[in-house]
Symmetry: C2
Subunit: 514 residues, 2 copies
């Protein structure tokens, strides 16, 4: 196992499954055909059974197959299709980003394809390979590379925290072996198709890439998501190792699956002492806008917004606007004032209600990632991912460790949007309890507003204080420099509307000025 040690020794030493390693060591690096077939018969039956168990138990599983053996990655993939039931496998193989993909943050394309629980996601090459290539080509600065590594860790951690079994396999080909294959292909064109078109490039950049590969394998090997390096020189040895590692990982997960991850293992985080109700209390709810000034300002700012969104469209600057606040705070009314000033092909409003079964079958951020706009567009979220730390927290729909870790997940999510150049603005519209009650009663009286009000709305009022605490903590912990919270006084709807339009225009103006 020379190369394993040479390449990623420290990782293997610290972090890999010792049992699996021992089993691999027992296998010699080259394996005879008959021995191979004997071992395969048993392994594939196990894999198949476990695949059904994963499906039956609606477990979430992600397999990453990457490495510098590109042909090997394809072969392993084909192998898994042959050995397991392909109906429950979802393969995601990405080439260079398409323009739809480049127009969004790096991880958009990975998030959006995630299959629901009960299916096995297989990512070939994936986010790691792409990052290595980009760094090699100089598309990523040293700092950019560090950022990407951080996002990889956060992405993988989010999956693991969500209960996903994550298995990452790196198929490693030593330089000498790669050289041998290239030479064989040159001599004998009949062998050339077992060489990948990019292999020559990998060979020529072998030494230069070594440092980058080592760094990324080390830094993205975490306790729950370690890289397992597999020697790819001998294909039979490689196949057996891969199958063996998968079997070990799946068996461990299935054995432990009586414990629902996330809920049972409630790791209570130490947080800064709960913030007082300072944020919401500080909002001056007495602010009003006279009817006359309102008409004038609304018109002026809608016109400006129209101009700015067209310019942002031309410049490829997209925006994500989040609206949160009490029921009847006037979110819908504000949103309609914004959309009235925009072209229908530019904006999209996403009203966020209770998740569908399809959404529940994935990480809670999945449904929001999918809606991230391409360059130049505006997406308006009427309620958002903050539901995790508001309604889901207060109503007990998320376990404490789930909503506790959500702050970090959300901050990372928004940081990725900002790094891509997206304008992220978050509005909390504040009203007092009396105003809410008055508006509820008005709604009951207006026929076309009755659908907005249910008994539940009145019931929720009893939780006012809990929501206050949750909202304050949310603002405290997710108020970042690039994606700040805008706290808006909403007792006077006219005030709220003009204030939001003003803030939005100012930010957009800054973003398109550059």
């Amino acid at each position: 196992m020379h190369l394993t040690i040479e390449y990623a020794g420290d990782i293997m030493h610290k972090k890999t499954d010792k049992q699996a390693m021992r089993a691999v060591d027992l296998l010699s690096n080259t394996i005879g055909k008959s021995e191979y077939q004997r071992l395969v018969a048993e392994l594939r039956l196990d894999l198949l059974k476990m695949e059904y168990d994963i499906h039956q138990s609606r477990s979430s599983m992600v397999v990453v197959i990457a490495g510098n053996d590109l042909v090997g990655c394809s072969e392993v993939l084909n192998l898994l299709h042959g050995w397991m039931d392909p109906r429950y496998l979802d393969v995601h193989a990405f080439a260079a980003p398409t323009d739809d993909e480049s127009a969004r943050p790096l991880f958009w394309r990975y998030w959006r394809v995630l299959a629901p629980r009960g299916r096995i996601n297989i990512f070939v090459r994936s986010w790691v390979a792409q990052s290595i290539v980009r760094r090699m080509q100089g598309d990523l600065s040293s700092r950019g590379f560090s950022n990407v590594i951080r996002h990889i860790c956060n992405f993988e951690q989010a999956l693991v925290d969500d209960g996903t079994l994550l298995v990452k396999l790196w198929l490693h080909l030593p330089k000498s072996e790669l050289e041998k294959r290239l030479k064989a292909a040159e001599k004998n064109p009949k062998k050339s198709w077992r060489v990948h078109p990019e292999d020559r490039q990998i060979y020529e950049n072998y030494d230069r890439s070594r440092k980058i590969v080592r760094r990324i394998l080390r830094d993205t090997s975490t306790e729950n998501a370690p890289w397992q390096v597999v020697d790819s020189t001998d294909s039979r040895h490689r196949d057996l190792t891969v199958a063996h590692r998968l079997r070990t990982a799946m068996a461990a997960r299935l054995a432990a699956s009586t414990v629902t991850p996330g809920i049972a293992v409630a790791e209570r985080q130490v947080v800064s002492s709960p913030p007082e109700k300072t944020f919401l209390d500080k909002i001056d709810l007495s602010r009003i806008q006279t009817k006359q000034a309102y008409g004038r300002k609304l018109f002026k700012r809608q016109r400006a917004l129209n101009r700015l969104t067209h310019r942002a469209y031309e410049k490829g600057v997209s925006s994500v606007l989040v609206f949160e606040g009490w029921d009847a705070a006037g979110k819908g009314g504000v949103i309609r004032r914004l959309t009235a000033a925009m072209d229908a092909t530019i904006y999209r409003v996403i009203p966020v209600a209770a998740p569908t079964p399809d959404e529940l079958a994935r990480h809670y951020l999945w449904r929001f990632w999918r809606e991230i706009p391409r360059d130049g567009r505006v997406v308006i979220f009427d309620r958002s991912w903050y539901g995790r730390v508001l309604v889901e927290r207060v109503e007990g729909l998320a376990a404490e460790n789930e909503w506790q870790r959500a702050y970090k997940e959300i901050n990372d999510f928004e940081a990725q949007l900002c790094e891509h150049g997206i304008v992220v603005m978050k509005f909390w519209i504040q009203i007092d309890s009396d105003t809410q009650l008055r508006r509820f009663k008005e709604r009951e009286k207006t026929p076309f507003k009755q659908h907005k009000i249910t008994v539940e709305d009145f019931r929720n009022r009893k939780r006012w204080q809990d929501y206050e605490i949750a909202a304050n903590e949310m603002i405290h912990r997710t108020n970042s420099g690039n994606a700040p919270w805008h706290l808006i006084a909403g007792n006077d709807k006219r005030w709220a509307r003009t204030a939001i339009l003003k803030a939005l225009c100012r930010n957009l103006n800054r973003a398109v000025a550059g």
Copy 2:
């Protein structure tokens, strides 16, 4: 209603809802504010109620809002968001195709976003506007334009046949009014944001576009999907007309919704006399490939396939391969021989099983449209849309009128793929009943093949003759010049594999040679 008659007189005359027309005529073309508000209060309440009924009854609904009044399209969209419950509205507004979209047939982008039953799809500008623009810019030949019109009719008919309520509204602005708006915007910059950036262009090309618009409105106005032209000069009049038309259409649908469309109204088509079992009978099942020749040919053709798929990738030529045939015909084995020769980033295998709830909630072709590869890729369907006229027909899962019309729908679907330059190949692998039984029994004995066999498989054998008739009719009615059926003898697996590889390589070679 001068312009209606000028613009699309014959359509309106023949096909529009007379009651709606009368109501619109009762409203004068300009409406006072108080009168407007009185009418609106009633209309929006009705719309809201009916929206809930549509949602409750899981009805399918598509609204198209197009026209030469671009600002009007946005305003109407905002209006519907204000008047109805936005939680059940899905707005799809498309600009010029992205590269992901251009890399696939025209209708891919519309099919893929279709919301499930119970939600209202609103397409702004949509396929019609895009076709007009392309024809104006000379991107579409006269023949290409006719093709597009045919596909539009087929697409809309497929939706209607599937039980979708389709409402198409064309917001028309006379040239004089457009001129007035442009002049007002020039004089007073404050009014300029009520003019769309493309309005100048529309104005300058007004006369030239008239013929194209008239043609497309006429030719895509069918009995079940007529265009309703709305005068957009006065916005209040326009809003009321739109709301009124929607209300009329939804009311009619909801009143009729006790009758399930499609199943109850079984319009038996007159088909050519049922084909005899000629196609399948003609396949010479005695063909065999010796083991030695097989090894040699397999290697040679896999190598060729590898080279050809790489070249097709570079040239942007994509392929859609369909595998159908009896259970145990060897589809999986063939597919593995193909994928073994391809790079994992190039191909994708789609195993087609019973539809999920998400898929059942839409037209049956939706799930296949979604998988259409972008330029350069290969998608392999292990079973396909032909399930509609095979298993669904034989097992009674589709009503007769449903599978009868499927031939036409499938032919149009594949024609669109071919027109886009996609290589479409369909393989039917034929075995005889004895061979199937033998293979079933072998599967039972092999541990890792047991999952492939269920009691149902044995049960299905009783329907052999029904499937034979269905398969023959399928081949007869969907064997087109560009997307022909390849009938493959499968009693000898080696023969089938090399024969398919040969046919595939030949076709690919032709496609990338040009």
